[in-house]
């Protein structure tokens, strides 16, 4: 049995554990809700994190943490974590915590796979770095949005009050810059 076979076989259980690990960071009072409410619209956070985790799992198992394939799933999870009050160390811990889950699986009667595990861990480290990029991207986005909101408000007002003037083409550029 390869590590891949093992992980495919045990997917449901590991993903569930992983999901629970991510929720560890939330107060008990809300964890339960995120875990149990199954309606994806009544519980968008639980839904997105669960979906993201599950997708990420497949990428790790099937594509060796291929960064391109992992990106949307990392984004799905981290986009939410980035606007909650966690420091990055907590918000992103879930990537590294996966290592322990895998080790636990392997130590339960599959010691022969430890070589493969080492390789997987290297990949996971890369994934963790990528997660950091995503996190920073989200944070930067937040600040950018904050600035844009203010600027649009002020600028729009000034523009319409005819208090600013542009070169003929300038107007268009400004609009496009707005993102």
């Amino acid at each position: 049995m390869t590590l891949r076979d093992l992980l495919i076989k045990r997917k449901d259980d590991i993903v569930k554990e992983w999901f629970d690990l991510v929720l560890e960071a939330y107060p008990d009072e809300s964890k339960d809700f995120f875990r149990k409410q199954q309606n994806r619209f009544a519980n968008p956070m639980g839904h997105n994190i669960r979906e993201g985790i599950s997708g990420l799992y497949d990428v790790i198992v099937d594509h060796g943490c291929d960064s391109e394939k992992a990106a949307p799933f990392l984004d799905q999870i981290i986009r939410i974590r980035a606007i909650q009050e966690f420091p990055p160390s907590v918000a992103l811990a879930f990537v590294l915590e996966f290592k322990e889950l895998v080790r636990r699986e392997v130590s339960a009667g599959h010691e022969e796979l430890s070589e493969e595990v080492n390789k997987l861990e290297q990949n996971l480290d890369k994934l963790a770095l990528q997660a950091f990029d995503v996190y920073m991207g989200c944070r930067e986005r937040i600040f950018e949005l904050r600035v844009n909101e203010l600027r649009n408000l002020m600028f729009g007002a000034l523009e319409r009050a005819n208090l600013v003037s542009f070169p003929a083409e300038g107007e268009k550029e400004v609009k496009e810059n707005k993102i």
Partner: protein, 543 residues
Amino acid sequence: MADIPKPEELAKIDHTPPETPWMETPTVFRDGMWCYGAKPQNIEAVGMPNPREWSPKDEDWKLPDNWKEIVLDGMKDRLGKFRSFKLFMDICVRCGACADKCHYFIGSGDPKNMPVLRAELLRSLYRKNFTLGGKLFGKLAGGRDLTMDVFKELWYYMFQCSECRRCSVFCPYGIDTAEITMMGRELINLLGCNIDWIQAPVANCYRTGNHLGIQPHAYVSMIEFFCDEIEDVTGVRVNPTFNRKGAEILFITPSGDVFADPGTYTAMGYLMLFHYLESMGLDITWSTYASEGGNFGFFTSHEMAKRLNAKMYAEAKRLGVKWILGGECGHMWRVVHQYMDTFNGPADFLEEPVSPITGTKFENAKSTKMVHICEFTADLIRHNKLNLDPSRNDNLVVTFHDSCNPSRGMGFFEEPRYVIKNVCNNFYEMPSNTIREETFCCGSGAGLNAGENLELRMRGGLPRANAVKHVHEKHGVNMLACICAIDRAALPTLMEYWVPDVEVTGVHELVGNALILEGEKKRTTDLRGEPLPGMEDIEDEDL
């Protein structure tokens, strides 16, 4: 080697909050979750108490020495004035039905964002100070003393509620957290602790008639700017009038529609509609004095809401109009629908509204004499009075976001949908537990659409964005329509973060796009100046 912790061990910091009961869990002010305090000049401008320089992050909030007395007296006063408040303090059974209905709780998991706990913050004070059990048994009866920490906690969470009333829909006793938040904010305002994002618009609106403090001449020139834009797109010049005495109808819309994208395009929609109807007998005027439909006073206190709202009737009376037409706005309509007549009525100087085009009597507005523009337009479309080309909106796949206040404070569901369906060919609803009376808030309502609390807004808006994302992925929705100026200000940012491919529009922007004006040129772009697919090529050939 063994001493060096493994990375996963490092990451395994115990971040579960301590298992302390909520009364004993101190509230930590997290950045991104709170708004700046009201500036002294903005408090002074409307004669409210305790103007001073302060920040919520300060240890000392510079409150008067008798601040506790002020809060408790204020509470007593309000218990006597509002049955809702008194009743809601008494009858909650803490069944928890509301707990997972709040978008802030859903998006953050902060237990104090459960509506029941938000209300318990005030209820614990009520019990301690106004009930026998609380006085005798204290904590055992769920009471607690008013301390500075408690007050700050109250402040923190009263400004994490957007008064959307979603919880109230599910409460078996109809307990409305909005009502409780409003009381909480009134108490907070007795000590001059409003947030500036609310206080500044209040001060501006009081003086200049609109939240942004735009003076009359600037207001006019902005609308004229829209007229230019409309001419660019359609080749037709529209000529709105301002402060015109003797007009039949006064039009009031939130100033957001005049000042900020994408609300401005909605304003263009109004202008085009009015122009279209002019020849059919519409006699309408705008006002620079009552140039604000929204009412941030409503997020401050009932009194402030009334003071700002008074301008609507005052201006209608001064101009001698017959009735008032209101633009697309959320909390504006909560105030107009449920408060205005009581605040500043009776409007006996006005007449029962009748559409000059179709002759329809707006029976449901016969006392307040103010009609929602979506009602007005829906009636026009129903009577076939508008010449529409919905295919001009074919580049859009639209969904509709029910804004909290018109939904749960009015029941305004069908009219905007009717309009949208008649001006657009591609319309898809979001899932049923996220629309109509169960609609999710944009996360920025009740004066919380500031910049400094963006994280709060993104969390609060997550449930809404998640539903939009669903229809975006399933049906290719790329336009989120709404009838609320705060939505139009807040949702674009929310969308940019969560669902970057979806833009936000007002319903009358869509109307403006579809409306065929007399003598207009072939349209090659929509009101936003973006090319209409399939129409730009033909332009040259036609010429």
